[in-house]
């Protein structure tokens, strides 16, 4: 493939990584721990949508351009609401008890690892290990000036842009968003200012869950549904989060694009099988050289 086509593919892959990383960086910045369950939350979301469009058979009439039917809208809504509710429940049952006990962030991170394994195992029991797809229809790539892009992929990039702008407006234009940034900056001062930081943390889980759901469904649209699809994206998402600076959604998006594009471009020089090593290399270099990220900012 020529370089430009690789950049296009990298942008699509990077959009999915960036979409997932935006949710990860939000919870990381405000809840202050690395949520290792984030990848498996993506997987849970894609299967919740699958339950609607395939298990329940509500695929709906076919949509123009896209590989899936109108039922996918319902699938996304269920995934978004389901993930928001699941994240809130996980906080209530796992993370809040640890927080109120003053547990170290490493304890929270390890707990999230346990949660990750549980989610993955349940999905494997419920839907098996093999790959699944939302539909059997094919999504033919269009030719734009010699570059091959599927309508599904244009949707992924466009949706990522819309979510990024929406998240920016939420964080910078709304009372809740500003309180989220304040809590990320200094939770004690936020309390002292009259902000109920527990409520803010719950809102963060719910919003992060909604973002995760969109990322999960888009990941399945771009590739396929597998019980370990989200887990396999965890490292690239962490690389994007660190690259963009923990707590910075814009940074996470840019980081995702950098990771995605460099992953695809790397195939020009190294074997495709080594592609997953690229985000790992980026992560190590960033942690050594600029641990606060390219832009060094928080939410």
């Amino acid at each position: 493939m020529d370089t430009l086509q690789l950049v296009v593919v990298g942008t699509i892959v990077g959009s999915v990584i960036g979409l997932g990383a935006m949710g990860l960086t939000l919870t990381y910045g405000i809840l202050k721990f690395a949520n290792f369950a984030h990848g498996d939350l993506l997987t849970l979301a894609m299967f919740l949508a699958f339950a609607v469009v395939s298990d329940l058979g509500w695929a709906g009439p076919s949509m123009p351009w896209f590989s899936f039917g109108w039922g996918m809208l319902g699938g996304v809504v269920v995934a978004v609401l389901g993930l928001a509710a699941f994240s809130l429940a996980a906080d209530r049952l796992v993370f809040r008890p640890l927080r109120s006990r003053g547990s170290a962030v490493i304890t929270m991170a390890i707990a999230s690892l346990g949660l990750a394994i549980m989610i993955r195992a349940v999905i494997q029991i419920a839907w098996g290990s093999g790959p699944l797809r939302y539909t059997t229809g094919i999504n033919r790539a269009n030719d734009y000036f010699g570059l091959k892009v599927k309508p599904d992929q244009i949707l992924i990039v466009a949706l990522t842009a819309v979510v990024a702008v929406g998240l920016y407006l939420l964080l910078h234009r709304t009372r809740l968003g500003k309180a989220m940034r304040a809590t990320a900056d200094n939770p004690e001062l936020a309390e002292v200012s009259g902000i109920d930081t527990e409520r803010i943390r719950q809102a963060t889980w719910a919003i992060g869950g909604a973002l995760t759901a969109i990322a999960g469904v888009m990941l399945a649209v771009q590739t396929q549904l597998r019980f370990d699809a989200g887990f396999n994206l965890l490292l690239p998402m962490f690389a994007a989060t660190i690259l963009g600076g923990i707590g910075s959604p814009w940074g996470a998006l840019v980081g995702g694009l950098v990771v995605g594009i460099s992953q695809e471009l790397s195939t020009q020089w190294i074997d495709t099988g080594f592609k997953p090593a690229v985000p790992f290399a980026i992560l190590i270099v960033m942690l050594l050289a600029r641990p606060r990220g390219l832009f060094g900012s928080t939410v």
Partner: protein, 253 residues
């Protein structure tokens, strides 16, 4: 007789089960400035945190206008009309000046924006560039912003933990002038202060805390003139006198 604006009754508090302050009582009336001074480690900040509800007292109670507020968490204290300015990290560095003020007015909801305009007008050095990130401000500007944030909800009582620590003498003076102006508007102020002389000069009363207990309580000007206080805490005599007053709890480690 109407109750005091704020009253701490025999409160003990500390960290990890060990009390740092022991049965400290203190009363503040509306529009008063009260300054707590004392050597390092005397429990001044601990007292302030316990009074505001950041630390739960192990003994005693706090009253606001005669109503028990001992177990109220900080957001509820703010709602009740008490504002607190921590000594360090008292602004949100990645938020703009205006957003910092809006956070101080969080409980006012959509009225916060209009109130932020009023506070910006009170602090011209902040009002000139409301979109500047607080992390880029100088020490004095940062302190002004921290004060402005605390004034957003029109509190009846302002608690300040060492508001002039790490400020140059000139800027320090500005802060005290400002506190006087805030008091003129009817707000009571409780200050914990290292720069005791300047603080006492504007105070109605001074309280000396030593080893977690009230050692002396006097009107501010009398305390300034008190020779033993001057020798111990105001640096009027040789500084060697000060360490002698510090209780050594762990054999001088």
């Amino acid at each position: 007789m109407s109750p005091a604006l704020f009253e701490a009754m025999e409160i003990s508090a500390g960290y990890g089960g060990a009390d740092i302050i022991h049965r400290v009582s203190l009363q503040i009336d509306a529009g008063e400035i009260v300054t707590i001074i004392g050597p390092n480690g005397a429990g001044k900040s601990t007292f302030l945190k316990a009074a505001f509800g950041l630390l739960r007292p192990s003994h005693g109670m706090t009253l606001l206008r005669g109503i028990d507020v001992t177990r109220l968490r900080p957001p509820k204290m703010v709602a009740a009309g008490v504002s607190f300015v921590p000594q360090l990290d008292n602004v949100f560095p990645s938020l703009s000046i205006r957003e910092n003020l809006e956070m101080g007015g969080y409980l006012a909801g959509r009225h916060a924006a209009a109130r932020a305009d009023e506070v910006l007008a009170m602090f011209p050095e902040l009002g000139r560039r409301p979109t500047e990130h607080a992390g880029r401000l100088s020490g004095g500007q940062r302190q002004a912003l921290a004060l402005g944030r605390a004034l957003m909800l029109n509190p009846v009582l302002l608690m300040l933990d060492e508001p002039t620590a790490a400020l140059s003498p000139l800027v320090r003076n500005d802060v005290f002038e400002r506190l006087k102006a805030i008091r003129e508007s009817g707000v009571a102020i409780l200050i914990v202060e290292q720069n005791a002389r300047e603080a006492l000069a504007i105070s109605d009363r001074g309280v000396v805390l030593v080893a977690g207990s009230v050692a002396l309580e006097q009107p501010g000007v009398e305390m300034l003139a008190n020779p033993s206080v001057g020798r111990l805490f105001l640096g009027l005599d040789d500084p060697e006198a000060v360490p002698a007053a510090i209780p050594t709890s762990n054999g001088g480690g």
